[in-house]
Symmetry: C2
Subunit: 338 residues, 2 copies
């Protein structure tokens, strides 16, 4: 098995990407195609002992910038590292691809170069949020589809179910909710009100409306929403998390006693940070494409890259798309299929 890594994408590319690939190949003995500028990558790779490691460089002469519009990335920059990594998946040489680069571009390239999986109209991005409990909650979609119809949310629910069950292994029959305001049926906007009865018709373990606060309680395994709301929730949460840490740091700086206190707390804070770190869960997969596409944070370090590669290989190992197809067949009533 090989995973294609966009070795040029992300704030710390190619250093972190190469290091992450080496760590991954060493630990799991799974192959990695490092896609990007050959000279740069060879130089980076020399820093490590890669004898017998299944790490191969595939040259790509272009790089997609972080602020490049996705349409340009797809149509104009066909020699980019992201494009070529996706092509390796389309051609069956790699089973999935990982990028820490421009999220919109990675999504568009997955969709148009790799293509949607059989029976899927709209792939969706899933993110595993840390919760109070020892297991994450999957929110889907967090940005691939801005305006959605009820039908799309039903498919997100099946994708989220499959992800929570097969990859995150949080439950054999994940509890599914729909993001809304108010707990009772009938509360929410038009999209929620139209989707709710359809979710009840499925064989999913649908337990009703989830509110904003439920994302972090762990009471739901999967929460579906349109990509507009989901993206705002994701960015709000990431930002609030880092600002709380910063505010605490600033307060602590104001006194020597607090500083000493903070120093003593460092191990606990580090454990917390690891727990709250979205990267720990291996980035955000775009579910419902033919091959696997994992999008990690632009700030991805080598550990995050390694985890994302691991996640991509898990998708292949668990035959994720076969499971997804079965679930669509088994969990959805006929009138919601096709």
């Amino acid at each position: 098995m090989y995973i294609a890594l966009d070795a040029m994408g992300g704030d710390y590319a190619p250093q972190s990407n190469v290091e992450g690939a080496v760590l991954f190949a060493r630990e799991f003995n799974i192959g990695v195609y490092l896609v990007g500028n050959k000279d740069l990558l060879e130089k980076e790779l020399k820093k490590y002992d890669t004898k017998d490691l299944p790490v191969e460089i595939v040259h790509a002469e272009e790089v997609i910038d972080m602020d490049e519009p996705p349409s340009i990335a797809v149509r104009k920059k066909r020699k980019s590292s992201m494009h070529i990594a996706a092509k390796l998946v389309r051609e069956g040489k790699a089973s999935g691809f990982v990028s820490a680069g421009n999220t919109g571009a990675a999504m568009a390239i997955s969709k148009f170069v790799v293509g949607a999986a059989e029976g899927i109209e709209r792939p969706g991005i899933a993110v595993a949020f840390p919760t109070k409990k020892e297991k994450p909650t999957v929110l889907i979609d967090v940005g691939a589809n801005v305006d959605c119809r009820p039908r799309h949310l039903i498919y997100f629910a099946v994708m989220g179910h499959t992800y929570a069950k097969e990859i995150l292994r949080v439950s054999d029959n994940p509890k599914v909710g729909i993001l809304s305001i108010g707990e009772e049926e009938g509360k929410g906007n038009d999209l929620v009100k139209d989707t709710y009865p359809l979710l009840k018709m499925t064989k999913l373990n649908f337990i009703g409306n989830a509110e904003g606060r439920d994302i972090f309680t762990g009471d739901f395994d999967v929460i579906v929403c349109d990509g507009f709301v989901g993206n705002i929730v994701l960015k709000t949460s990431e930002s609030l998390g880092s600002i709380i840490v910063e505010m605490i740091k600033n307060e602590v700086k104001k006194s020597l006693v607090s500083k000493i206190g903070a120093a003593l707390m460092i191990p606990a804070l580090k454990r917390f940070k690891r727990k709250a770190d979205f990267a720990e869960y291996g980035g955000a997969p775009l579910l419902g494409t033919k091959g696997t596409c994992i999008i990690t944070h632009g700030r991805a370090d080598s550990r995050a890259i390694k985890n994302a590669l691991k996640a991509a290989s898990d998708f292949e190992k668990t035959h994720f798309n076969d499971r997804l197809k079965e679930n669509i067949d088994n969990l959805l009533p006929e009138e919601l299929k096709g």
Copy 2:
């Protein structure tokens, strides 16, 4: 000036409500009508020295439960403390009312008993979020209006502008944004794309799309959104904030050294908590009603009640609704009025 307080609403009613009212009347010498069960309130009030304090009890025999549907609250329980407090505003005896009770009911009662202000079709709830900077950012609407049209968001923008300028005093010309995904014009869902050009037509200091992360940076003074998205953002943020604190506490408990560290950090953590506490800003006002309506958290303690009463009196002192009317006249082009 008198403010009507729903003395029976909230988790710690009537104790905290009465204490908050006494603290407020003592500090600002502004009148409070304590609305609720006369016997209970008299007993509570005896705990304090209220000689010469302008605190008066107004009897109400019913209480609206936290889970009572708003429609029942408005139509069936006309003798509730919330209802009678709102009626005092409608009759001009009080200039505003404050409730820590059932939010949906408080909103519905404000709308139907007090009524919308002149020229306002849809009142909206504003929340002041703490930011990295020393000033809050106003998000409006956080739940009064689930499905919105562009016109409603334009009015929310003017209400938010007036609130940020007159009450929070963050700026003379508050920077206004619209919550979306992606910074550039043209990014977002249909509602955002339709509202953006209309916001550009106003004389508001409109600076474009705000992303989820911008709520806490302090780069915007006012961010508008529909009540569905706003409510989810509010609840997500409140929940994440408290869960982060809980996760840190749990990590700290695991070692004695961390416990000592945490103990030393207590003053810094308290300062942080005060800063991050939404209650500090005096609850969430429902903007665009004839009188002032301030909704505080169900968990409101006496300090939060006092701050909410203070906020209600600030609305009256600054002639908020007159300022709002002027701003609608001056900032909106003719085609967006009426």
